[in-house]
């Protein structure tokens, strides 16, 4: 009987806890020093650092994706002399692992530090989907730097994502542009798709399928894998029966490399062009796919100098000087802009008292971020709308020319093949 009561009690407690966790945290207005804010105020004593968080993929097969962005953000801090509002910057970086569990853990660690005023990142939509709400629940807005899933900035997004904005394009633009390229430029009338269940890949694929059908094309196969799948041969054999003109799989390095390796072995795939997505612009992909990567194409935002802002070549120079190599992925400029937007917003809302202490209102900071307009960013103009979309999209297609990871250099391997 005692056990029964205990179980009942546990069930009730767990249910209440679950209900409580889904409700927006009731945050009362707070006044500290000269600042009153609806959800809280962070006080930074004179001379103490302002804490900023970051979370990107810095381990595993997609390390280049996150590391490149961390570097972009660090270069932005260098350009601010590592100071904001008269305080030194203390930068905390966590590993998002490019998955939901990693995003949740990283965001929870950052949220536990109540001195953090803003977080830059993450890089993967699967990490941002749970991470953004965790941070915003703690009153910390986040500026994502390569999460492109439409759901993150949709008008009907959950309350938890109201503190989430991004200095990267929305896949509503990217998916449509991909489909238009397949239909109009490649003259393909049939398409097969593969996603890996991640918010980024699944939503991008759905947008591309929708646009492809609108144009008059037919989606002959819509498949899915898991990121850890290694045996793609049965999947590709199934797709080959539908004889698609193009197979589009905007997934991550490990599984994509297996598709690229194994597609050549499948009978019936000879006439199908296989095309990946922007996560594959990394030396790690060449390491994983080897020589089968030669001639492989993927769609990506245009990463050539003329597609970026005027200051991009200068940033690349700093990148090479600081890290001893050329950029290792395509989103460092977006990360630079993400950090720049965050620093400008902090400067805008920071208020000093007579003793030299600084006060930052959390809601005010969020509003200042969303109010960013006409900033001439490294990756292009940054103007945020009310849902958190701040950047436009310039479409390009790239092709690998060599399977040796040492030869990776954006512009030559992979080289841009469209637009010419």
């Amino acid at each position: 009987m005692k056990l029964k009561n205990f179980l009942k009690g546990t069930v009730v407690a767990v249910t209440l806890a679950a209900l409580a966790s889904t409700m927006p945290q009731a945050q009362a207005a707070e006044t500290k020093g000269p600042v009153t804010d609806d959800i809280g105020v962070v006080m930074i004593p004179k001379g103490a650092p302002i804490h900023i968080g970051g979370y990107w993929t810095i381990s595993g097969p997609d390390t280049a994706l996150g590391l490149d962005q961390q570097r972009g953000a660090e270069i932005a801090m260098d350009d601010w002399d590592n100071k904001v509002a008269g305080h030194p910057i203390k930068f905390y970086v966590e590993d998002s692992q490019c998955n939901a569990e990693g995003g949740q853990t990283a965001a929870t660690k950052l949220a536990s530090n109540q001195n953090i005023v803003v977080v830059v990142g993450p890089d993967c939509s699967s990490a941002g989907t749970p991470g953004g709400p965790i941070l915003w629940k703690a009153g910390i807005p986040s500026v994502a730097t390569s999460t492109t899933a439409p759901s993150l900035t949709a008008p009907d997004r959950p309350e938890g994502l109201h503190g989430y904005l991004r200095t990267i394009y929305n896949d509503l633009s990217a998916g449509a542009a991909d489909a238009e390229y397949f239909y109009n430029e490649m003259k393909c009338k049939t398409m097969a798709t593969v996603h890996d269940g991640s918010p980024y890949a699944e939503q991008l694929v759905r947008v591309a399928e929708g646009r492809f059908k609108e144009l008059g094309g037919e989606v002959v196969a819509a498949e899915a894998v898991t990121p850890t799948d290694v045996d793609m041969r049965p999947l590709l054999t199934g797709i080959a029966t539908a004889k698609p003109c193009v197979l589009y799989f905007p997934i991550f390095v490990a599984a994509a490399a297996q598709i690229v390796r194994q597609a050549g072995e499948i009978k019936g795939m000879e006439e199908t062009t296989i095309i990946g997505g922007s996560a594959l612009m990394a030396p790690g992909f060449l390491e994983a796919a080897g020589d089968t990567a030669v001639g492989f194409r993927f769609t990506n935002p245009d990463a050539s100098d003329d597609a970026f802002g005027e200051r991009y070549p200068e940033m690349v120079k700093k990148y090479e000087e600081k890290y001893g190599e050329k950029p290792i992925q395509a989103f460092h400029a977006n990360a630079y802009d993400g950090m720049a937007v965050a620093l400008m917003a902090i400067e805008k809302v920071a208020v000093k008292d007579d003793d030299g202490n600084t006060y930052i209102g959390r809601k005010a900071l969020r509003d200042a971020l969303f109010a960013t307009k006409g900033y001439d960013g490294i990756g292009g103009e940054i103007t945020c709308n009310e849902h958190g979309d701040c950047a436009g999209f310039k479409f390009a297609v790239y092709e690998f020319t060599n399977g040796d990871p040492a030869t990776f250099e954006i512009g030559t391997n992979p080289k841009k093949i469209y637009p010419k």
Binding site: T237, A240, G290
Partner: protein, 367 residues
């Protein structure tokens, strides 16, 4: 109606209700599950046949893909089943021991590839690569046994199991620390790229090599266990460790030998995995390890031919199942449900035959 007739009818109804009460909720669930799976299999297969989407050649390809991965599962499963047979212990680190073999194979193969030796001397290269992988896996398996399992050998708790999981994490993260978390590509020599004609179907050479090596290794292992003195001792220890000890068998030696044999099979499995999937990274042993463990359970854990059969069965079901059973229903993205199908089959086999495909019913002392 008389009072007696009413009473008799009430009694009859009561008996029937009692009979119904004997059918538990679990029985209903199990029977529903069996019927559901049967319906899916039968109607799915009929639907797929009617659709006629795949050619005979493609069905043959599916089967060969399944045999290839199945052979690798089977080799890894042998390590699980032998250790379980001797120690009644699930060596959860075994998948990661396979990973260590794959890493050592990669480093040697890369060196041989760069020097041109791998292309020029395929057989000698394979012997060297497999030899190294077997030695590394055996050494690590022995170290795991000595450090993690032996101290708990006579302790009837969950400690060895927890230790096995700890060893698994230790191996993964040691390799991550030593070699990083990026994916490395196993070399792709020219002699593995061709195709050969089998029964009128074109089959990639590497598939035949992998299946042949897997079968040869399993045959070799089977002969060791059935025909040698040490194999007899292994079977005796597996039957009753105390009695075997009293008969003069050095149980400790037998256990070490079992770990070496399991390590060798893991080493070969690791090399074959590299040959087929080409990607090497620290976490690569986990999933094949879980699948191989399932294969061992499917075949009847503790039973060596059972592990082999279980491995091939699981591989073929994973490969053929989505196309054969789900395509017929017009299900979108059937391959995403590959693991679901494989593990549903595992559950079904265990519902019908709890001891596994070739397993014997264990006496309470052994179980």
């Amino acid at each position: 109606m008389t009072a007696t007739a009413t009473e008799a009818k009430a009694n009859g109804l009561g008996d029937r209700l009692k009979d119904l009460k004997r059918i538990s909720f679990v029985d209903i669930i199990l029977w529903s599950l069996r019927i559901l799976v049967l319906v899916v299999v039968v109607f799915g297969t009929i639907g797929t046949i009617i659709k006629d989407k795949y050619s005979a050649e493609q069905w043959f390809d599916f089967f060969m893909f399944g045999l290839t991965i199945g052979g690798i599962y089977a080799l890894i499963a042998l390590g699980y089943t032998m250790v379980y047979g001797i120690l009644r212990l699930i060596n959860f680190a075994h998948g990661d021991i396979t990973m260590t073999g794959a890493f050592s194979a990669y480093f040697l193969a890369r060196g041989l590839d760069r020097s041109g030796f791998l292309d020029a001397n395929p057989i000698m290269s394979m012997i060297l690569i497999m030899g190294l992988a077997m030695i590394v896996c055996s050494c690590i398996a022995l170290a795991v046994e000595r450090i993690c399992y032996r101290p708990f050998r006579h302790v009837a708790t969950l400690a060895p199991l927890i230790c096995a999981i700890g060893a698994s994490f230790f191996l993964q993260h040691s390799f991550r620390g030593m070699y990083g978390s990026t994916i490395r590509a196993y070399p792709d020599p020219e002699w593995m790229k061709g195709q050969v004609d089998v029964l009128g179907f074109q089959v990639p050479v590497y598939q035949l090599i992998v299946i042949a090596i897997a079968l040869a290794a399993m045959l070799f292992l089977y002969l060791i266990v059935q025909k040698t003195k040490m194999g007899t001792a292994m079977r005796a220890v597996s039957e009753d460790r105390d009695a075997a000890s009293m008969m003069g068998i050095d149980v400790n030696k037998v256990i070490l030998f079992t770990f070496i044999l399991g390590g060798c099979m893991a080493g070969i499995g690791g090399v074959l995995y590299c040959m087929v999937y080409k990607q090497i990274y620290f976490y690569m042993g986990f999933l094949p390890g879980v699948k191989a463990f399932s294969a061992a359970v499917l075949g009847g854990i503790g039973n060596i031919p059972g592990a082999m059969l279980g491995g091939f069965f699981l591989g073929v079901v994973e490969s053929v199942g989505p196309a054969l059973w789900l395509d017929g229903f017009g299900i979108t993205a059937p391959y995403q449900m590959r693991d679901l199908i494989a593990f549903t089959m595992l559950v079904m086999v265990l519902i019908f035959r709890p001891q596994g495909l070739l397993g014997e019913r264990l006496a309470s002392k052994r179980a």
